[in-house]
Homo-oligomer: 168 residues x 2
């Protein structure tokens, strides 16, 4: 099955992380591939990288991407992330494959949307989870489960800054 | 801050679980209190109960509740869960307190809604996360962050059954 978690609300990546620990608790093998998140300082990555039965691959740089004008390396890293995802899905080594922020990579045109569709059509036995805002209508049509995380209210609007342990 | 994850889509409890591992990865202390989920066979509970810095308290029974006609024990267990939540928040021992499915317990009238508001007004330093469908308008008003997990599409509609490792 293919899940998409999209929308402008908090909870997309964390929902995927929750699925990861549920799978690990059931002795499943998990792979987490992250687009645009090269930073092992994230609390969840520090935690998960110490667990058994999970492999983590991060791509991107530690710089913010300008969606209007991405750098050459942003395209290169997105392509590498895609190739890793393809290889991982085809390997049939994992029960759950989370491809974090791929929807944003597509929306920002770091990767052609056809590559996301190709991954969705690989007909793997693995559960595939794709996260990130801006999932396209076509991706939503191709997925089996789609949740829109809709922001009703966020404390960032009150001026609260991102906090270690909660936002990263 | 008080978070609410509500709505009819998949991802509410898993988003809370993701916050838990992010917090654990940052050496935070976590408490998970679950209404209506007395079942340590859940993959995520098996996994989390082996970790450091987390305490888990489950309430309820292993039987399904009839929302139209809950059993006496369902009310008693909801009251116990509430009392545990109050005690845990007041203890100031935790950085993150997840109160799973409390919104449903309120909607099904296992617990008066004033008790949820009371927990929200305790002004704790802990991050408080409340999950479950049917969060009331008043609870949403009192919260700092609210995400509605909106079901766009679910494979249950295609007749797929809940699967170990993914749904529990």
């Amino acid at each position: 099955m293919i899940h998409i978690y999209t929308g402008n609300g908090k909870g997309k990546t964390t929902a995927a992380l929750g699925l990861i620990i549920r799978a690990l608790g059931n002795q499943k093998r998990v792979c987490l591939i992250q687009f645009m998140k090269k930073n092992f300082a994230y609390g969840e990555i520090k935690f998960l990288s110490q667990q058994r039965n999970i492999d983590i691959f991060q791509f991107g740089t530690d710089k913010l991407i300008d969606p209007e004008n991405p750098a050459k390396i942003d395209f290169e890293e997105a392509e590498k992330a895609y190739q890793k995802a393809e290889q991982v899905i085809k390997s049939n080594k994992y029960d759950l494959v989370v491809i974090d922020e791929i929807n944003v990579a597509i929306a920002w045109k770091l990767l052609p949307k056809e590559k996301q569709f190709y991954l969705m059509e690989l007909k793997s036995d693995a559960e595939i989870v794709m996260t990130g805002r801006y999932a396209s209508k076509e991706a939503i049509e191709k997925a089996d489960l789609v949740t829109e995380m809709r922001e009703i209210k966020h404390y960032f609007q009150k001026g609260v800054q991102a906090r270690k342990g909660i936002e990263f």
